[in-house]
Structure formats: structure tokens, C-alpha cells
Amino acid sequence: MESSAPATPSETPRPALLSGKMGKEGQGSDALLRLVKAVLPPLLGLAAFVAIWYVATLSGGSGIPGPVATWQEAVKLFGDPFYRNTPNDQGIGWNVLASLQRVGIGFGIAAAVGIPLGFLIGRFDFLARMLSPIISLLRPVSPLAWLPIGLLVFKKADPAATWTLFICSIWPMILNTAAGVKQVPQDYLNVARVLALSEWQVFTRILLPAVLPAVLTGVRLSIGVAWLVIVAAEMLTGGVGIGFWVWDEWNNLNVAHILIAIGVIGIVGLLLDQGLMLLAKRFTFESR
């Protein structure tokens, strides 16, 4: 497409080496071109998606609302996201916040337990071999299988959901932290030995900064999994939360709201991931 566009004189010579040192006018149209190149494919993809959705729901026989109807519902819904009628009838904003809070608590406890445990497993081989069969056995289990145990122990739905999130988000943090500790180059530890750093100084000055990127990878994976699991967990436990809300709207046969919820869950998940990615970038060092 851009090749058929009339090239301005400043654009005609475009060897890669020179493009960085072009004149001011050249830079302006270059930036515009880059912007178009960056934005065009995702926009086209979204448009195609909406078009297929539109065509597929045109007949109306499936019961799934089309994009227009869903959009109108969404406008209505987000017009008042924070209302409270009854405990089971609250605005979508409250539901999202309730889910985020659960994820935060479950993930927070998992981080408090999993990251130190990962450090210990990475540093002490004996402990690693001791815990590895348990971790290998439990890790592939769907966290929802732990929900009844949570209900039994805590006697309430809310902490049981948090417990499920704790279980699902602890594994990536343990494993990534441990792997990070194991991968700390021997060179760094030799430096520590020559400097005669104490065990605490080795931890704070060498291990912690060296392992931080791996820990943040674990955090990102954990939050991602927790955000996947929360929807299912809340469908089972009820109360307030985006998962419960989806189930409630299914019972109301309000399919447009379910579609909106899917969009909201996706956007929140994307924001969480991108936010943590930014954080990880801030603390990642170039190793060469």
C-alpha cells in the first residue's frame, strides 16, 4: 500500500544507513509513515473481527447480539458503573474492583510465600530435591480442584476464592525465582567471595538484583494465571466479582452483558500484563 503512495523527493533515497540522518521534512513524513505502518494492521484486524461478528449475527437466530446492539448496551452499562442496588446487583465497576481485590490478596500472599521459598530452593540443593516431587505433582492440578478444600477450611466463599488464587499463583513464582537463583553466574558469586561479602550482603548486593528480572517474570505469569482463574472461581463462589457477574447475566439470559464482560476481562488482563512488563523493563539490566 505505502509503495503505491506517491513518494516525496526526500523519501526517494531510502538506504537504511542514511534514513536516520535525513532532513527535517523527511523526518516528519517518515514518522507519519511509521505511525501508519504501526497502526494500520491492528486496526484492520479489529475491523475484520467486528465485520465477521456483524455478518455472523445478522440473522439473529443464534441469540448472540451483534456489535451494534452490544455497543449500545455497553454505553448504557458504563454510563453508571458504580451503582449499588442489592449485594447481587452492583455496577460493573464494583464487580471488576472486587475481582481485582481478590486477585491482589491471593497473589500478594502467594508472593510473600513463593518468592522467599523460590530463593531457598534455588540456593539449597537439598531443599530443591526435597520439594521438587511435591511441586511437580501439585503444579499441573487445576487450582479449582482446591476450591472445595478452601470452602471446607474457611467456611466462607470469599476466602475460599482467595485461597484458590493463592494456589494458582504460587507455582510460577516459586519456579521462576528458583530458576533465576540457579542461573546467577558463578562469576558474580566469585566476585562476592573475593570481596568477602557476608551471606546477607551476598543476598542483598548480588542475588537480589541478579534474580529480580526472573522474579518479575514469575510475578507476571502469576498475575496472568490468577486473572484467568478468578472468573471461574467466582462463577462457583458467587457474591460480587466479574466472574459471578458473567454467570448472573447468563442466568438473566443477557448475552450482550456477557460479551461486554469478556471484553472487560480481556482489557483488564492486558493492562495488568503490560503494566508488569513495564515494571520488569525498569528493573532488567543488560547482561553484556
Binding site: Y188, N190, V191, R193, V194, Q201, P209, F285, E286, R288
Partner: protein, 276 residues
Amino acid sequence: MVSATPIDRHADKFVHLQGVEQAFATKQGRFVALRDIDLAIAKGEFITLIGHSGCGKSTLLNLIAGLTVPTAGALICDGREIAKPGPERAVVFQNHSLLPWLTCFGNIHLAVEKVFGAKEGKARLKARTDAALALVGLAHAAAKYPHEISGGMKQRVGIARALSMEPKVLLMDEPFGALDALTRAKLQDELLKICEATRATVVMVTHDVDEAVLLADRVVMLNNGPAATIGEILPVPLARPRDRLALAADPTYLACRQAVLTFLYEKQRHPQPLAA
């Protein structure tokens, strides 16, 4: 024994290795890397260790550093047995080993803080760090991170870090091995100047014959492993300060160089034919 050089001529045994042996347990059984290593290093002396790759040069350096413990024999530094690594025997590692999350200043400051932090104030520690950076000509790069500077600069920071600790012995493990020839020559000249100024005791592992002769008071040549021993010790009776260009045609320099080459390529021909 094997060596014709009387090592006892150096009365000052600042670093003293006696009957040192280093063996490793491998799947094929016990592997002896080094044996019968006797060496006395005088204070202020510059020793280069040379030998074919795999002969145990770095193993010997690690022993003096205290990073590994010998299976037999004793190592003594300044009248004390070497039991573990410490800042009094600073190491310049082969691959610079700078911590990538610290700036050049931060890397050196960590060492300075550890060695002098207990008895000196913050300003004094900073001054020491700045001085170390200035010594290797990197004052301008203090705030840069290791990945932002060249290989030669990284190695200079590594040297500055080691020197900043005011070690009794400076141990260098092929410090210039990964650098191009021009950078290497420049750093060798800088190191010569620094050592003449600080009167440092240095043990340097190298595989470069010119480097070994140019820098050393004595070149210690190791036999091929396994179970490597000291093959010869060659004194280099060249006056200091040394000038690379003037030495290039100096008969003593050439004779020393020839002696090392003869040792490496005639007496200790490498088992595999070299591709060169």
C-alpha cells in the same frame, strides 16, 4: 628439581607455595591437575604464568586466590595460610565479571565500601572510588553501566576494582585475553605504569608470549597437564620502566621471548597439532 633456576635466591617469600597439589574427583576417577608446585614470590614482583591451554594456569591462580583449596601442600601469603578468598588477594577475572546492575562507579564502590567502609567516612570512600577510576583513565565513564562501554573499558574497570582494594597481591586471569591486539597493548602499557607506581605484587595468567615477557620479572612456565608441574622459571632481567617499542629489538628481550617459545613449542609441544 626440574627447574634450573634457584628460586631461593628470592629471600623474600611474600607469597609461598609449597608442594601444592590440586586434584578433582571426576567420573573417570581422580584427576590430578597440578602437583609438586613450589614457588616463592617476592613482594613487588610481577610473575606471569604461561602454558598451553588446559595446563592448570587458572587452577593455580584460583588456589592463590583461595577460591579453591589444594588437595595437598600449603599456600602462604604474607606469613598467613591462604584459607579462603579475600580482598587482600584481589582478582581480575578473565571475563571482567562486573555486576551489570551497577555503574562503573558502583562496581568499584562496592569493593571499596567492603574493604574500607568500617573505618572511613563516605567522602573518603567516594574519593577512593574516583581515584581508582582515574587511575585507569575512566573518570568520564563513572556513571556508565557495563553494557554501555567497550570490552577494554570493562576490563579496566575490573582492574580498577581490584586495585581499589589495595590488595597485597593482584591476581589476574588472562585479563586481556578477550581484547583486540591494539587495546591489549594499550592496557599492558597502562598496567606497567600502574604497577611501577604502586609497587604491586602481581601474578598474571596469560597465553601470550610477548605479554608474559614484557610484563614479568619472572615468567613461570607450566608443563602440559594432566598433573602439570612448573617446567621452567625464566627471570626477565630488563630494566623498568619498559618501553614496548625499544624492547622490540632488544637482544635480552628477544632471548627471553625465544626461551619461552622454545619451552612452549619444542619441549612442551601441544598433544594436538595446532591449527596455526
